[in-house]
């Protein structure tokens, strides 16, 4: 019974990683850049939702909606100001810019929201599900996160395969120059990718801080890195891969903490990552000739 409850906890933690990883993998798949600021957009989203919900006192769904809108704007603005001018620069320059943006956002949030830790009120008002006579409880956050994660994954997969904009994304990811020749507006496509990625970040922040309610200016950084690992684990650029990678990462983390050692849990997670990449360098669902996104 305790195994099942650990497993559920692992899936629940993993689904949070998944939803962050989806944003990472979208941007990487199309713009071919690692947006390290993704975790910090989640943090900003958390503060926006917190401010609207707890300080101003509006209902949670309004807060989440405003959070999504503001994060989308933020993501597009960052892309326009910091990444677009570097479109033809080396990937190292873009990487360093992304790290700079990440630090900028953390310190910017520090100035605006202050240093005190904040306790987030859950946006999900669902009571936990009790199974087996109360021995197994699944929290309301988990009950929402997992289906939502699947819906988003399916929606994104359909979106990139079936819509004109989505096919434009595939074209850009496969060959940017050819896409331009075929009349795809590359700048607009990448901007839309960032908009989607940042909107996902806002959704992720609502779910993550509902499940783990400690909000501080650095609270996006570590989940962001773990989600990045999840995206690599699942095969970066692959949408279903991000989800599978995230959930596996969560399960491995929780189970190794429960059955092997709570001190060694992180070491084990990354050991598994190394082993997987040794056997399958492109990740679980990554293909050799990748059909990215």
């Amino acid at each position: 019974m305790s195994f099942l409850s650990y497993l559920i906890r692992g899936i629940s933690l993993g689904s949070v990683y998944s939803i962050i990883a989806l944003g990472y993998t979208m941007v990487y798949g199309i713009a071919k850049m690692l947006n390290f600021a993704h975790g910090d957009i989640i943090m900003i989203g958390g503060y926006v939702i917190f401010t609207i919900m707890s300080t101003i006192g509006l209902p949670p769904f309004v807060a989440v909606l405003v959070g999504i809108v503001l994060c989308t704007l933020l993501g597009v603005t960052i892309e326009r100001i910091a990444y677009k001018p570097l479109r033809s620069a080396s990937s190292l320059a873009v990487l360093i810019t992304a790290i700079g943006v990440s630090y900028f956002l953390q310190n910017f949030a520090l100035l605006i929201f202050g240093a005190d830790a904040k306790s987030f009120t859950s946006v999900i008002k669902l009571s936990p599900l009790e199974l087996a006579g109360g021995k197994l409880t699944i929290s309301g956050e988990t009950l929402v996160t997992i289906p939502l994660c699947i819906i988003i994954m399916v929606f994104l997969s359909v979106f990139v395969k079936k819509t004109k904009v989505g096919r434009g994304m595939i074209a850009v990811s496969e060959n940017k120059e050819a896409a331009i020749l075929m009349g795809v507006n590359v700048n607009r496509t990448i901007a839309i990718t960032f908009a989607i990625g940042s909107a996902l970040a806002a959704v992720a922040s609502a779910l993550m801080f509902s499940a783990y309610p400690a909000l501080s200016t650095t609270s996006g950084a570590m989940p962001g890195i773990k989600a990045f690992v999840a995206a690599v684990f699942g095969g970066i650029g692959s949408i279903p891969g991000a989800m599978i990678g995230g959930i596996l990462l969560g399960i491995i983390e929780i189970l190794s903490r429960a059955y092997i050692s709570s001190q060694l849990a992180d070491a084990i997670v990354f050991l598994v990552l190394i082993l997987v990449l040794l056997v399958k360098p492109t990740g679980i669902l990554g293909k050799k000739i990748q059909e990215k996104v």
């Binding site: 650990y6 990487l95 240093a115 830790a117 306790s119 309610p213 501080s216 990045f228 429960a258 992180d266």
Partner: protein, 387 residues
């Protein structure tokens, strides 16, 4: 992710280089001073900001009082406090900045990691250092560094003794941060002391800085082991999550912590009902009825609209300890930093200091303080003395 860490490190390094480049404008700037230059560093921003801010504000109150009453040996104090974000590298940067400013005595750092880093520097410069709350034993490994707070091992053994003497529980679980020197230091001493007491440690679970949001496993193990008391030698941010998650699980043991839990009631939007009956071992209770405490708490509340925590009280004491030691040694600000350090080192071991955080505090040359701990329990959202 490796990349990110590396670039972070590079950035920090370049900052260090930049701050060194800024040095040399007022090297060893102690000759001919007309004021005592006392400076400190601590987290004013970031995760541990509540500690640093309370230290800064409380020290400022003490400095103001002393200056208003005529200063030390007739000389005024100049006080300056810099942010270190609970980061050892930044603490060293802050220390170097303060040296440029003319620093003669260090009242810092606030947290253990930065204090250890600053201690290395002050040792090289032979500068006297008194930390209000840097509790790791390594902070005072050199003879120029002294603590106002208990050292971690003392907190560990005092906690074990307290739980045992009061018969709070027979089965105890521990959840600690194995990546934090503060937390693992207390845990180790607690575990060894537990062998001589009438309770048993039935579960000892760790977490690290890289995975400090999900505590379900640790709490489940504590619950399954039948622990009646969970010992939390950790900082309050994680304690907030642990209390919330334990409540979700319907697990209600006694939670017992050390001074790191101080500050938990100040977390914005935190439901303090979750912290009801949480106990912590701390030498300071803001509701104590003596005149000194009430005067300090009133001034603090008036200026910052918050109730000071133990870190603040430690800092307030630290400034007065410096005052007494400087007066006892007839130290004047125009002496060289090294001479001031030697005088303070000698005088502090002779002191018998009555402060907010204990009466009859004494110091050994090793730098550790000797005073009595008090247990505080949270009742109706406020710290109350427990006995």
């Amino acid at each position: 992710m490796k990349m990110k860490r590396m670039f972070g490190l590079l950035l920090v390094l370049s900052l260090v280089v930049a701050s060194f480049a800024a040095c040399g404008t007022k090297e060893g700037g102690s000759g001919g001073n007309d004021k005592f230059y006392i400076g400190g560093m601590g987290p004013l921003t970031g995760d541990a900001a509540s500690y640093g801010l309370h230290v800064k504000w409380s020290a400022e109150i003490a400095v103001e009082e002393i200056n208003a009453a005529g200063g030390i040996n007739g000389k005024q104090i100049e006080f300056r406090f810099e942010d270190d974000e609970h980061d050892p590298e930044k603490a060293v940067n802050a220390y170097n900045n303060l040296k440029d400013w003319g620093l003669q005595v260090v009242m810092g750092a606030v947290t253990s990691g930065p204090s250890v880093a600053v201690a290395e520097e002050t040792k090289n410069d032979n500068m006297f250092m008194i930390t209000p709350s840097g509790s790791a034993p390594a902070v005072v490994k050199y003879d120029n560094a002294f603590q106002v707070c208990f050292s971690d091992p003392n907190q560990g053994s005092a906690s074990a003794k307290y739980i045992s003497d009061k018969g709070l529980a027979t089965k105890v679980a521990v959840i600690y941060d194995s990546s934090e020197v503060y937390s693992s230091g207390i845990y180790e001493k607690f575990a060894s002391e537990a062998k001589n007491s009438n309770f048993e440690i039935v579960a000892a679970e760790a977490f690290t800085a890289d995975s400090k949001s999900d505590f379900a496993v640790q709490l489940q193990k504590a619950k399954d082991s039948g622990a009646e008391l969970v010992f939390l030698p950790i900082y309050y941010q994680q304690a907030v999550l642990i209390l919330t998650q334990a409540n979700d699980m319907g697990y209600k043991p006694i939670f017992f912590g050390c001074d790191g839990l101080d500050g938990i009631l100040g977390v914005e939007n935190f439901d303090t009902a979750l912290a009801e009956d949480v106990m912590l071992l701390t030498p300071f209770a803001a509701d104590a009825q003596d005149e000194k405490t009430q005067n300090f708490v009133a001034k603090f509340k008036e200026a910052h609209n918050e109730v000071p925590n133990q870190f603040g009280a430690d800092a307030y004491d630290a400034i007065y300890i410096l005052k007494e030691a400087l007066e006892a040694g007839n130290v004047t600000p125009d002496m060289s930093t090294s001479d001031i350090t030697e005088a303070l080192k000698k005088e502090i071991t002779q002191l018998n200091f009555d402060g907010l955080t204990g009466a009859g505090m004494t110091w050994k040359a090793t730098g550790e303080v000797n005073k009595e701990p008090k247990a505080v329990i949270i009742k109706d959202g406020a710290y109350t003395l427990f006995d």
